[in-house]
Amino acid sequence: MKQKTIIEGLIFLAGEEGLTFEQICSALDHPVNDAVVEDLETLKKQYDDPDSGIELTEFSNRYKFITKEAIYPYGQRIFEHAKPASLSQAALETLAIVAYKQPITRVEIEEIRGVNCEVMLKKLQAQGLIEAKDRLDTVGKPLLYTVTDEFLDAFELNTLAELPELPQHDGEEDLFGNEEEE
């Protein structure tokens, strides 16, 4: 059996959890990094074919199969319950601040947003999008919030380095040019 075939089957087995590059290598007989990378690339291309309903993605450093976006409306006809979650503007702003500034304390987030964020942070934590593992070594030892791997997956990111650069507003350009009204 070809190595590519094994890799394909393994990623499929792992389902929504996906597999890291290291996990894939740990299952193979004599893995050579370059060859594994090549196989993954070949698989990605193979599934990129517009005739394929599935695609191979790499989010949060994990390879997994997901359906193409165009399948969504058809899937909804069968599974009405599979409605996507939506995030409020306030939730997105808070996530953006954590993602760009992490690790960050609640007080720092509130300074930027100008509003109390306690409830919001709890909700995002419950949603698994942020976590608070450490504490700042200062008076009161406030919790330090960071985004989770699930955040990366939910926002199609492999690492935080892939976040688009923060837009700079240092003068000339029209501040509200790209503003969207809701």
Partner: protein, 244 residues
Amino acid sequence: MEFNVSIEQFDGPLDLMLHLIKENKLDLMDLNLDVLAEQYIDYIHQMQEMHLEIASEYLTELAGLIEYKSRKLLPREKPELEDEYEEDQREKLVRRLLEYQQFKDASQTLRTQFDRRQKQYTRPQASMVESWMQIKSDGTIEPQSVYELLKAMDRVLKRHAILQPYETKVTIKELSVEERLEQVKARMKNETQAILFETLCEDCTSLHMIIVTFLAVLDLVHQNDLICYMDENEAIWIRKGAAL
């Protein structure tokens, strides 16, 4: 001045200020704090008159702006100091507004990515995997995150919804008699012997589908595609008719 936008539509005082700046075509880089303060104070007062609940954050900023305005109205004894105060207040606010605007913009990009990703389905890990995993056998439990529990429940509920589409009423687009008719015809075409109605219903997953199957059979009998009869045990038998 009339304000048409309700306070509930803003994500906080900074969001409201950015809105007022835009409405009044103020230049954020060279902010006229007098106008902004006036607008903001008017807006909050109007919302209060409408008896809308104003979160404390809005009032905190209001207090700051009122202080700014009142200082400007007072006779100036030490003009230099006052100028400095004014400059500081303005710079501080502009810096906050700019930073907030940055994250507001960034959240738009994030929204696009989030919405797209939400429209892609995954599937659970193969059940086989669970049997391969080793489970700690000494019986002790380390402290667990309650969020792990929430995630587990979330997984269960999602799977429950996906795996049992029929049981969760109106989940499935209901099969029409016409569609079922075609299916029954296709099924019976190669059937030389009579079969039980129950056999025809083997793929039915709801009462509705059984009824639709029955109606389709009645139609097909009417068109002479099927012949239908009942035996002594009141079982319904179906056989290919002359027209099929």
